[in-house]
Amino acid sequence: MTEENTNFVCISCPMGCPLVLVTEDGEIKEVSGQQCNRGAKYAKQEYSDPKRTFSTIITIEGALYNKLPVKLTAPVPKDRIFDACKEIHKMKAVAPVKVGHVFIEGLLGLDGVNVVACRSMKKV
């Protein structure tokens, strides 16, 4: 049996708890260092299938500014961030837009990953 420690910094909140994940033959045994229950969840996820959310912008017509900020409602696998970005950038919005408006449902075929507007923009 080989026990292995992997270190992570939790990114669930600005606290940034230093986490240690202990595995035995690739099987997760325990997580320590977290100050809340999101820490263990994060370390396990990060060890087996790291995921991230991010914000980006899409072009908007007829609004005060040229760009509308959008965000993901759920994380995508870390290695698909650029694919996700590319897909989102194909979108175009036309003012008016309400905050929370869903532009893409199931981004990259991923269930529950929607692209939504981060703000409302009036038509000008």
């Binding site: 990114i11 940034g16 991010f54 914000s55 500014y65 760009k67 900020p69 905050v99 981060c118």
Partner: protein, 428 residues
């Protein structure tokens, strides 16, 4: 409502960012209804509008929001409550009448120069970025050197990229977040350079903004020279010694066409200086009492104009309180002067507010002068609290209850941060 402006108000709030919007809500809580928010940009929301990443609202809303979402929640409340907002407008001065009421001079694109009478004023003008001039980077003066927040506005609101190959000086959160944003929008980020031996940003931002994209972070390293005639062609970077002197022999060149600077923020207090409120030399913001009142009666201050915050949630909390005191003042409440002066002691760079009153609960905001892990926060001989980890970039906030101050008989209360050697001592 947006764009409407009367001749007189209970309360005029200067700045429509997170501080100004929360101050308006705070004033409303006290029952005043005539509130005007003056905003320089075409719409309220302030810097939150360009901070499109998430991480806002964990304290205040108990959920993680992006900057624009956080701003919109307050904007909706303001509109629902009929707070007047004038945008594209600028306050050029404030004068005091013999009866104590204030005249705020506002430059408005349609109304021209108008004078608005009000009972109280809240300063909520925010802060601006330090520039290349402020840190005196030698070299030529080509295009392509700009502050990180300006680049953030260009990218996130206007959709302009500042360049193709980007170097970033300063590892504060704005610098780190811009590194990721630029990579996601198709730029190459060649490195982040930080003069201090540690990052000034949150560790989670180092992880998710730099490590995730293999962007190198060079600690104890700074930009020694900018090269290029019309456009930045490259920069020379060099490690620094313990006294932050450049080690020339170890310098190297980095190819880039753009240099972003994330090297600190300065409260924007030209107006405060003009009207003669006393400023604190350390925070560069007004000196305020425990009711967030400046040295000028009826003029209050909150948010980044008072001292630079790192979390908007704390700006909101502080501004709600400043707005409440400004609202109370407009309704005629006058509180007795504070009796206790707060003194930043050992390893404390500053604390805000500057004075306290034993009459009510206070939140004191402070910053450490150095990184300490762990340390002891000591408030005179009244209170001791162990802190796991302090760093100058992260503000410390402390609630002080009135019964604690009841026991205090002095005029000066000193706050110290004392480093503890190890965990064993911490338990002792």
């Amino acid at each position: 409502m947006l764009g409407r402006m009367n001749k007189s108000y209970d309360c005029v709030i200067i700045g429509g960012g997170p501080a100004g919007m929360a101050a308006a809500m705070g004033a409303m809580d006290t029952g005043v209804s005539d509130i005007l928010v003056v905003e320089r940009d075409p719409e309220p929301g302030g810097i939150l509008r360009q901070c499109i990443h998430s991480g806002f609202g964990l304290h205040y809303f108990k959920e993680e929001l992006t900057g624009p979402e956080y701003a919109e929640r307050f904007l909706e409340k303001m509109i629902d409550n009929d707070v007047d907002v004038v945008s594209n407008s600028y306050v050029s001065g404030i004068s005091i009448d013999s009866d104590g009421s204030k005249q705020v001079r506002i430059l408005h694109p349609k109304a021209g120069l108008s004078s608005i009478r009000c009972k109280s004023v809240v300063l909520a003008m925010g802060c601006r970025e330090r520039t290349r001039g402020a840190i005196r980077i030698p070299g030529s003066r080509p295009a392509g050197v700009l502050s990180a927040g300006l680049a953030q506005k260009f990218v996130n609101m206007n959709g302009y990229l500042p360049g193709k190959k980007i170097a970033i000086l300063g590892s504060g959160d704005i610098g780190l977040i811009m590194a990721r944003r630029l990579v996601l929008e198709g730029c190459e980020v060649v490195g982040v350079f930080e003069m201090m031996p540690y990052s000034n940003g949150l560790t989670r931002n180092v992880v998710q903004c730099l490590d995730d994209f293999n962007i190198p972070l060079h600690l104890s390293t700074t930009v020694a020279r900018v090269h290029g005639r019309d456009r930045v062609s490259h920069i020379t970077v060099a490690p620094v010694d313990e006294k932050f002197n450049i080690i020339k022999e170890k310098a190297w060149d980095v190819d880039c066409d753009t240099l972003l600077l994330s090297v600190g923020l300065i409260p924007e207090n030209e107006l405060s200086e003009k009207i003669g409120v006393a400023l604190d030399v350390i925070t560069s913001g007004p000196r305020v009492s425990s009711s967030m009142e400046t040295t000028m009666s009826g003029v209050f201050a909150c948010g980044n104009v008072l001292h630079v915050h790192d979390l908007v949630d704390f700006v909101t909390e502080e501004a709600l309180s400043a707005g409440r005191y400004a609202g109370e003042y407009a309704r005629g409440t006058r509180r007795p002067a504070d009796s206790i002066e707060l003194v930043p002691g050992q390893n404390v760079r500053y604390c805000v507010p500057h004075t306290l009153s034993p009459e009510r609960e206070h939140t004191v905001y402070m910053r450490a002068t150095q990184r300490m892990q762990p340390c002891l926060l000591r408030v005179g001989n009244l209170l001791e609290k162990k802190l796991r980890f302090v760093v100058p970039a992260e503000m410390i906030n402390l609630k002080i209850k009135p019964d604690l101050l009841d026991k205090f008989r002095g005029e000066h209360l000193t706050i110290d941060l004392i480093p503890l050697d190890d965990d064993k001592k911490m338990e002792a």
